[in-house]
């Protein structure tokens, strides 16, 4: 009986801990997606040893706005959605058109 109580306490403790962790996680989902974006950016910026400076003008999508200033605002979603058809064949992944 003593063992059972101890186990149930552990399980309850773990359950509560998980709930707290989840609650904390859901309050910071924005931060998490921002972090992922930054992480992805970091990986790309590892080119040249991570020396890319934010004051350098880089515009990969050609819209005339510096990618660092746009900070993830994507105006291409609508086009991608409406143009998706039998012939599009595009998937995720960089450089895949």
């Amino acid at each position: 009986m003593k063992y059972i109580i101890k186990s149930s306490h552990i399980i309850l403790g773990v359950f509560l801990f998980s709930l707290i962790s989840f609650a904390q996680d859901s309050t910071s989902v924005g931060e998490k997606s921002e972090k992922r974006m930054v992480e992805t950016g970091k990986k790309e910026n590892m080119l040249f040893g991570g020396k890319i400076k934010s004051d350098i003008f880089i515009d990969k999508d050609g819209d005339g706005i510096c990618d660092f200033r746009a900070k993830g605002m994507s105006f291409e979603k609508f086009k991608n959605r409406t143009r998706q058809g039998a012939g599009s064949g595009n998937g995720k992944g960089k450089g895949n058109r």
């Binding site: 992480e39 040249f48 005339g64």
Partner: protein, 358 residues
């Protein structure tokens, strides 16, 4: 003790899994006054919902991604036009050195329609690989290959595979000008050989785009794309005394050649609100698609379309209200003039939607 270890391991695994899983969902409402883009102007409201999941495995030099995309288009009045699209895929980004990286992936997509439109169901297997080399911090070149296999279950006559190779150069300059130049060549090979007709098409595409910053928060962009058919194969079939061409059932870029050009102005009003206005013009010549009247008499040897399009798009980040939430608004209007009266039309489309990522 064993129990504690198991539970601890479970928690650690769950935390790890959560950290590497990305979910996005979208919900849009479209008000479309010409859903089939034809002279028979049929309007409807369309509801689009999508749910996407990505699982990342990230190491120092490699990012592997498994993903699944699900999208439903529900037509309020013309319910039979509704469709479901699903895609499963793997994408990998391998960073070979400071200056070069390799990307490759495979995906499989299925589109299912309803009722009479189930004849338009198709599946697609796609694979790609490309190499990117950076000459400088703001200049890089990408070259690659894309393979698509499109299977139309009810129109095996149209089933085909496409092989495409491309090269693209991106450069940005200190004048805050960006330049993209690209070229690709595609080959379309039909799965079923027809002895009396050509069984393959080849197309060359050239693309150029120039962007210019106007201050820190605005940009002007112009592009030009030219498509030329090096050889062409057009397939059609008779049904109920009507001749149907592939392009009329499935969007087929090989059926036409021509050019497209456009200008856009993008403005970021704040960190959370941006807008874009766009003006486009395109000319498409369908050299293997004759213009016919309702009696089947040929009026012109090839259909020619000229299209003018306007668009405004606004995006507002609502993360202050709910983290990961974005509001999108779009207005598009296009006028299509054609020597085929069936394709003389205009189309106005409003859409409003929410994107949620977490």
């Amino acid at each position: 003790m064993k129990l504690i270890i198991i539970i601890t391991a479970f928690i650690l695994f769950s935390t790890l899994t959560l950290a590497q899983l990305e979910l996005t969902s979208e919900l849009y409402r479209y008000s479309d006054d010409n859903i089939y883009n034809s002279a028979y102007k049929i309007s409807d409201n369309i509801y689009n919902g999508s749910l996407n999941a990505s699982y990342y495995v990230v190491t120092e030099n490699n990012t592997l991604q498994f993903y699944n995309q699900n999208s439903v288009n529900y037509y309020q009045e013309y319910i039979a036009t509704s469709s479901l699209f699903r895609k499963y895929g793997v994408a990998d980004n391998l960073r070979i050195s400071e200056k070069s990286q390799f990307n490759f992936g495979v995906n499989y997509g299925v589109k299912n329609n309803r009722d009479v439109f189930t004849i338009l169901n198709f599946s697609q297997l796609s694979a790609y690989g490309n190499y990117r080399y950076s000459f400088a911090e703001s200049d890089f070149i990408t070259a690659g290959y894309v393979y698509n296999n499109n299977t139309f279950n009810n129109f095996s006559l149209f089933s085909h595979s496409v092989h495409k190779t491309f090269i693209r150069v991106n450069s940005s300059f200190v004048t805050e000008t960006s330049l993209i130049l690209g070229a690709d060549i595609s080959a379309k090979l039909y799965s079923e050989n027809e002895p009396s007709a050509a069984n393959q098409s080849y197309q060359l595409t050239l693309f150029g785009q120039v962007g210019q910053a106007i201050g820190e928060k605005a940009g002007l962009s112009g592009y030009f794309q030219l498509r030329r058919n090096l050889s062409q194969a057009a397939r059609s079939f008779y049904y109920d005394n009507t001749l149907f061409y592939q392009d009329e059932l499935f969007n087929d870029v090989f059926s036409s050649e021509g050019y497209e050009t456009g200008l856009s102005l993008t403005k970021l009003f704040s960190k959370s609100f941006g807008a874009k206005a766009e003006l486009t013009f395109s000319r498409r010549e369908y050299n293997a698609l004759p213009v016919m009247d309702t009696e089947g008499n040929v009026l012109a040897s090839s259909r020619i379309d000229n299209q003018i399009g306007f668009g405004v798009e606004m995006q507002n980040d609502l993360s202050n209200y709910l983290p990961g939430l974005t509001l999108q608004f779009n207005w598009n209007y296009l006028i299509n003039s054609s020597n085929d009266v069936f394709y003389k039309y205009d189309n106005q489309l409003f859409s409003v939607g929410l994107d949620l990522s977490f």
